[in-house]
Structures are given as C-alpha cells and as structure tokens.
Symmetry: C2
Subunit: 423 residues, 2 copies
C-alpha cells in the first residue's frame, strides 16, 4: 500500500497504536464480534411466543388439529403471511422446521440423491459438479458444498450483486456448474442488494446445465436498518416468465425475526420443484411442528405485522450499526487502512483492510480477548486470496461491549497496518 | 383353507355376512382405522405444552439462552430424562427436531454421502446395498429404503423378534447387507418385544459388512397397555461389550408421549458414531429448537414423570384395545377366519386372515366407508406375498367409532372369507 506519510510520522503512528494495544491488553477484555446472532434484547421482543398458542388453542384456521401428525406443506395461515414477504405464491411456499440452513442442505441432499426436474440424472451420478460462490459470502453456504465435495468457483461481488458478466459466461459454457449461492438483499457480509438488472439476468441467462438452480437465500428480506425498505426483484416470477420456472429455490426463515433457535424456515419454488420436494419429504417426515407455526401465525398476524415487528428490531440494532460506523470513521477515516460497507439492512458490516493483513489483525485481536470471525471465512474453503476481508457482526454484544470491541479492532487494524507499511 | 362346515352351513353363514354387510352399507359410515395417531383425548393430556415454557422463561439449567442459536446436541436436561428410558448414556444421546423418522431418514442420507465409522467407503459408492426388513413391519421404514433404491430382504418375525437363524446367516455371508430395521418393543404392527436372546444375538453376531448398522427404532419404549412395563435388553451396551459399539443406531421420540406433530426426536449411538453424526449435522444446522426441548423438560420433569404421563395415555387407549379384541373374539372366534395379536403395548393389533383375502377385505371395507391401512403395507414395496396381514390402529377413533369400525371389519372378513371357502 502506498502512502505519503514520512518515516517519522509513520513511526509516531505505530508507536501510538502499540501504546493503545498495550493498554487494551491490560484490560482483560472478553468480547465477541463473530456470529450474526440476535441479542437478548431482540429475543425479548418475541417473549409472547413463550406462552403461545395458549391453553387449549390448537386449531388451524381450516379446523386442523395442529397437535397431531400431518400437513407436510406447513400451516396455511403462516405461509400466507410469508408468501408476500418472500415473493412466492402461497401454493408454492412450504413452512418447515426451525432453520432455512437445513432446507438448503437438504436441497443438496435431494438433488444429489433424487433426480431434479429437468435433470438428466441425480447429481451424485454426474461426476464432479460445481457451484458459483459470490465472494465475499456466507461461510455456512460454502461448508455445505465442501461437505459434499462440490467445487466452488468464486465470483466477485459488486455493488449490484455478483459480477454478471462472469456468471453468465461461466454458466453458459460449463454444464457441470449446477447452481449459484445468492443472498439477494442486504447480502452477508457486504449488505449489497441485487439490482433489478442482476436479478433479471439471473432469471433469464442461458445455462449449459438443464438442472441449474439459483439458491436464493432471502435471509434478510425484512431486516431493514433504515426508514427505506429496500426491495429486491421477484426472481421466481422473472424466471417463470422467461421459461425458467424450475431454476429458482427460494429460502427464508423467521430465525432473525422471532427466536433464532425456535423459528420457522420456508422453501419456495416452481410447482414442479415443490412436487419433487414433497415427494421426497414425504419419505422423511409426517409433517413439521405445526404448533410452532400456529404460535408464529398468532404472534405475527400478517405481513404488516412482521414489518411492524422488524421496526422494533431496528430500534434495538440500528444504534449498534451506527456506533460501529462512527468508530470505524473516527479511528480509520483518512488512514488508508480500511474501507467498509454502510448497509441499509441485514446483520453485517464488511471491513476491507490492506491485502495481507486480515489474518494478522484477527490474531492480534484474539490475543487481547476480542474474538472476530476468522479471516477467510467469507470465502470458499476459508481462503481469502487477498487476506483483506473482515466481517463485523454488531448485533449480539451490548452497546458498550460492541463499542469496546470495535475500538479494539480498529486499534489492531492500525497496529498491523502501520507495521506492514514500515516493512 | 380347509373347513369342516357343510355346504349348507357355509351358505347360511355367507348369507348372514352378506346381510350384515348390506346393512352396514346403508349406514353411510365414514370411519378410519389406518394410521397410528394419538386421539384428541391423548393430546389433551399435554395441554400444558401450549403455554410452556412461560413468560420470560428461557434459560437452560446451565444458563444457556435457549432462544438463540447453538447447542447442536440438544438440551441436556431433556437428554437426561430420556437417557435412562432409551438405555443410552446421556453423553451419547442427542435431542433433535420433531420426528425420529427424520433422524432415521437422515441416518441413511449421511451413510450414503459420508463414510460411516468402520466403512470402507460411502454407501453411495458401494454399488447395490441391502437391508433386512423383518415382516410384518412398518411401512415408513420400508419407504425410506425404497426411496434410496436399497433392496429389502424380508425376514420373518417370530414371538421373540426377527428369526435370528435367518438374520445371522444372511449378515454373515453377504457384505452388501448394511443393516436391519428393528422395532424392539411392542413392535409395529405385531406388538412383539424382542427377547433378551434375540437382542444379544443382534449385538454379537458376526457380520460380513464392517459398516453394518442396527436401526433400533425404540418408538414404543414407554407405551405400555398393561400394568406390566415390559423391558427390552440394552442393545447398545451389549454391542459395546461385544466390541461392536458402532453397530447400533438408537432412535426414539416423544411424538406419542406429548404432541404427535410437535414433539422431540432422539438419536443415540457410540461415541464414534455421535462424533460422525455431529460433524455432518454441523453443516446442516445451528442447533435444534431448544425452546421446545425446554418446554418438554419442564412438562415431563423426569423419567418417572414420563412413566406417570404414559399411565394417563394407557387409561385412554387400553379400553380401545380391549374393545377391539373383544369384538374380534365375538365375531371371528371359532370361525377359522382370523387370528390376532394381543399386544402389551404400542399402537397396533395385527389381524391375520386367510391367505389371499386381505386385499379383498380392505377393498370391501372401503366400499362401505371404513378405511383400513392398505393390505401389504406391512411388507417391503407394499407386497405381502400371502395377502394375509391387516394392521388395526385402534387409538385415534372415538370409542364408538372404533367399535363400529372393528365390527364392520369383522363383517368384511366373514364376507370375503366365506366367499373364498365357497369357491
């Protein structure tokens, strides 16, 4: 990294960073900026779920006894609430267990072991297959591919989503590329929302693979951090209009709406895909936990109710994002040691530091009791070739812990950054 | 079937059956004896679960906030309750989602796609594999094998469990046999509990496959119908003592203890198997619904609490089994047209009718509005070679509906049985 600082100025800056670091080391910090978990304050917002649905209340709107077996599609009234929010016709949206990660994992399992609509054979019978992985991205997505030995091809993220020139070229020429991971709104970790043009291209682009799938992880569909409720284009509708209805798998969940561990996951897709999914699911399950779905439908009430509830989340976490951005600006502004995203929603801020310093920064932070997501976690196999991306998850710590942790992080950025310059 | 009835007597009996059938046909019955579902009265016993864990109550015994992500093993206090009941050390017992069927299905998925402890390769890479299927057995077990193209070899059930002479011979000589389905206590549908000698042989027998697994579906561990709480031997302990610790996968659930659709499933196995399972599960899940597990731990309290709760179930369903057995005896006793099991627990009575008549009986019952489990469902691929087994599930209907349905069933048995004799 070039700099116009004189050698003397650099020494002074480095000394100052060393002094700050040494002082922090003496404080016995124990702080954690790693995972995108809601804070206890956020979970308190859904306290009513701990006593719902209520004594002797167990009938669905259609009269079904939700306590018993059955109902593979999930509770209709809850699916209706999320059909609008996830842009999936209610008849093509399933409500499932407590996690959309499970549904994404099981989508791979099913595609590996049961022939997808449009496929020539099961993925497990096709020899080596590949997936496109926009980077930086979500480590748990990449872990699923890694588990099943699916090669990931990194694709750069831009301000409008994955670089579609790269994506379109790759999928047009290589039939072994079976899909792409997408977090279309407030993406993990960059906060980017895909532009309408990006979504249109994803829906319409020719693919060499007849069984290509977009894994559309709409994890932050209603997770706004500002007054603006950013919208993303209707990928399933666009794909259907383009004759590619079977291309899209939509995932969503209430994990970061209600209770992280006790929410409801959703799966949406074309009619053919849903039929295929239910055919497989029917061998695995006699129905999801419909009581928990009734609990959620009662608590949330409607799509508007979900948005109103998310406003309460915003009131809790927006100040944490603001504090993080403020400290980053105060400490790193003008230093040339970092740039960062200013997301309008979601759970993360991405800090980009000089190439070759991210791992060292994370290590130095750990030495003084501040745990950060491992450098590289945002890339397939945990390998960031530039070693420059650090993911900040501001939601879980208390406001004061967060501010202390972000300050410590910036101190480590300066320490490692100035050391690198001095070499 | 031979009979010493004179032709005249037979004609009279057949006429009488035809008259009874015709009368039933005029009643517009709409009755269902198919699935082993708890009745609303049984579900009412767990009504407290609809308001638990209670406002602001979400801390596990160890202080964990059960609302958030994490805790892949499941809630310790609930696992402790079921460790004794399922005969699995608590450190080797996981608490999961709302269904043990899912766990059994996923055990196949994992073994197909990830090399089992002791295996030479993944099952999916081993060419055709086989499973032993004691018959009559549980159709949902068989459906899982069918889905994955796993050939099932039927093994006769005896009064002490599967015919171990057949089982030991087959597994010793054929390395492509990867496992056996077992419902060790109050088996579905015969009600048989495996003898200690059967369990010992299963645990100790030599197998040609190094990755052989017993799928031990202890679905009715505490589901007693009499004062006697029948015990089954500790298969995991016996296998471990015999040097075959990795051979056993134990499954259980609260589905027929608390709420059928909103219970908790359990998986128990050796330390190596659990490590393998968690390694795979960690790619799929950030933890089960721990709130539901806390709900269950609070409601059930202890292993003794579970047994006390099951006494309440017995009070509801034992009279239904008694009525079923009474009507079977009144209507079919001495006719030579049927024999049936008298289970001490579980959810089913097996009725054996003359070879070649079961399908016709089920069809005749359907014509007058009485739905029975399809004949053949108790056998792999739905094919009972003798066409003689009918499964009766007495729990779900009301007492009066049940009695009407069983009477209608016996009428169909007589109608079809006497028609067959007359041919």
């Amino acid at each position: 990294m070039t700099t116009d600082l004189g050698a003397q100025d650099l020494t002074a800056l480095l000394d100052s960073a060393r002094q700050d670091y040494s002082e922090l080391a003496g404080r016995g910090l124990k702080l954690d900026l790693t995972r995108g978990k809601p804070s206890p304050d956020q979970l308190d917002l859904a306290d009513d779920l701990l006593t719902l649905p209520g004594a002797q209340i167990f009938k669905a709107a259609d009269g079904t006894d939700t306590r018993n077996y059955g109902g593979l599609n999930g509770l209709l009234e809850l699916r209706q609430i999320f059909a609008d929010l996830l842009n999936v016709p209610v008849g093509q949206l399933l409500a499932a267990g407590n996690s959309s990660l499970e549904l994404m994992h099981d989508a791979f399992v099913q595609a590996l072991l049961s022939k997808l609509p449009g496929a020539e054979s099961r993925w497990v019978d096709q020899g080596p297959i590949k997936f496109l992985a926009p980077v930086p991205g979500y480590d748990r997505h990449f872990s699923i591919c890694e588990r099943f030995g699916i090669e990931m091809i990194p694709v750069p993220m831009t301000e409008t989503g994955p670089d579609m020139a790269v994506v379109s070229r790759l999928v047009a020429e290589d039939a072994s590329i079976k899909g792409i991971w997408c977090i279309p709104k407030y993406s993990n970790p960059t906060g980017v929302t895909y532009s309408d043009e990006t979504v249109r291209q994803l829906a319409e682009m020719p693919t060499a693979a007849p069984d290509f799938r977009i894994f559309w992880d709409n994890a932050y569909a209603v997770h706004h951090l500002t007054e603006e409720r950013v919208e993303v284009a209707d990928v399933l509708g666009l794909a259907t209009a383009a004759g590619n209805a079977d291309r899209v798998f939509v995932f969503g969940s209430t994990s970061k709406i209600t209770l992280a561990g006790a929410g409801v996951g959703f799966f949406g897709a074309s009619e053919a895909n849903i039929k295929w999914w239910l055919g497989n699911l029917g061998k695995r399950s006699i129905g999801p936990d419909k009581i928990n779905q009734l609990r959620h439908a009662t608590f949330l009430g409607s799509a508007e109710g979900v948005l109103a509830h998310m406003d309460k989340h915003r009131a809790v976490i927006a100040p944490k994002f603001e504090a993080t951005l403020r400290i980053l600006a105060e400490q790193l502004g003008g230093t040339g040691l970092g740039t960062w995203t200013e997301p309008k929603g979601g759970y993360f801020i991405t800090l980009e530091v000089p190439a070759g310093t991210a791992s060292a920064i994370v290590a130095r932070a750990a030495e003084i009791g501040v745990v950060l997501t491992p450098a590289g976690a945002t890339h397939p196999l945990g390998q960031d070739p530039d070693d420059s991306i650090i993911r900040i998850a501001p939601t879980f710590p208390s406001q004061s812990d967060l501010e202390a942790a972000v300050y410590a992080l910036t101190t480590c950025v300066k320490l490692v950054g100035y050391e690198q310059r001095q070499k």
